[in-house]
Symmetry: C2
Subunit: 179 residues, 2 copies
């Protein structure tokens, strides 16, 4: 089965962005960014985005943010996708992702946001969490998960410390049946 | 000047404890714990506790939790300290900590909680944040800081990865005048 990996930049106080979706304070240059872009192409062939996450790209005129991946945006309110390369999924989101994971292919990249991550985590669909921990306290913002999730053990499977202070942490989600 | 270091165990989703102050899910054995206990005695000669943090010890009958350190508990509601080894500070908390930092001695350990940390951070009194990142998502609980703080850059000065998946991260708080 393909794995679903929530790979996201986060502050030391666990915010993935400011309230408005911007991310000033996060480091946007350096080896961590190069590694990230390279890994997207190597590990994945599909990406899942929540509507608000996709709209951050739309705001700056980008309708096709991950052109090298099959792109899905999840929204109950959006009427149609503004780009033929991005497939809109409006109904049965959980079932859609479950089916997608059962198809053949590389692993699936969940780039955000917190609402979609909370929904999919609660359905035991997220297999790994990869945190790009930035050396900053945002003070407020959008947290890693927007809603309550159940207490869950993780396994640290890999890590990398970058010169600029970014810490990359790879966690496997220990699902109930595996503990 | 003595440094004030906020050294605290935290989950991957940034909670220092469950809502009731308990911390099941955090790893309480292994090299990370041995290192922690050793470092308390080596680096510090004083500890600051918020009232709620101290009460977690009191609940299990411990009135003198850090007997090898000079202990201060901060509370506006507590009438007197239940232990002669713990000094109650009820007024002018910020000024008290500022003076303490100017005295001679080893560095000062801020063990929590989130309310006291937020107050002292907002007054630029916290010099380092040391996170003992436990491989668990608590899902809800008491966050690293309980109130809003301003966006603040950090510098990763050291780190250690333990076999059991605990990640120890040392951050220097970049204060405005130092950036």
């Amino acid at each position: 089965m393909r794995k679903l990996k929530y790979y996201v930049a986060v502050s030391v106080d666990n915010f993935i962005a400011h309230e408005d979706g911007s991310w000033d304070g996060f480091l946007t240059e350096g080896e961590a960014v190069t590694d990230y872009l390279e890994s997207l192409k190597t590990w994945f062939d599909a990406v899942l985005m929540g509507r608000k996450t996709y709209e951050i790209a739309l705001k700056v005129g980008v309708t096709n943010p991950y052109s090298y991946l099959k792109q899905y945006v999840f929204s109950r309110t959006m009427k149609e996708s503004p780009d033929e390369n991005v497939e809109l999924v409006s109904e049965n989101i959980v079932e859609f992702v479950r089916k997608l994971k059962n198809e053949t292919g590389k692993d699936i990249y969940l780039c955000g946001g917190a609402d979609l991550a909370t929904m999919l985590f609660s359905e035991n669909l997220i297999d790994e969490i990869i945190l790009k921990l930035n050396p900053v306290l945002l003070g407020s913002g959008i947290p890693l998960f927007s809603g309550l999730i159940k207490q869950t053990a993780l396994e640290l499977t890999d890590s990398k410390i970058y010169k600029n202070g970014v810490v990359l942490l790879f966690y496997r989600v220990k699902k109930m049946e595996q503990i």
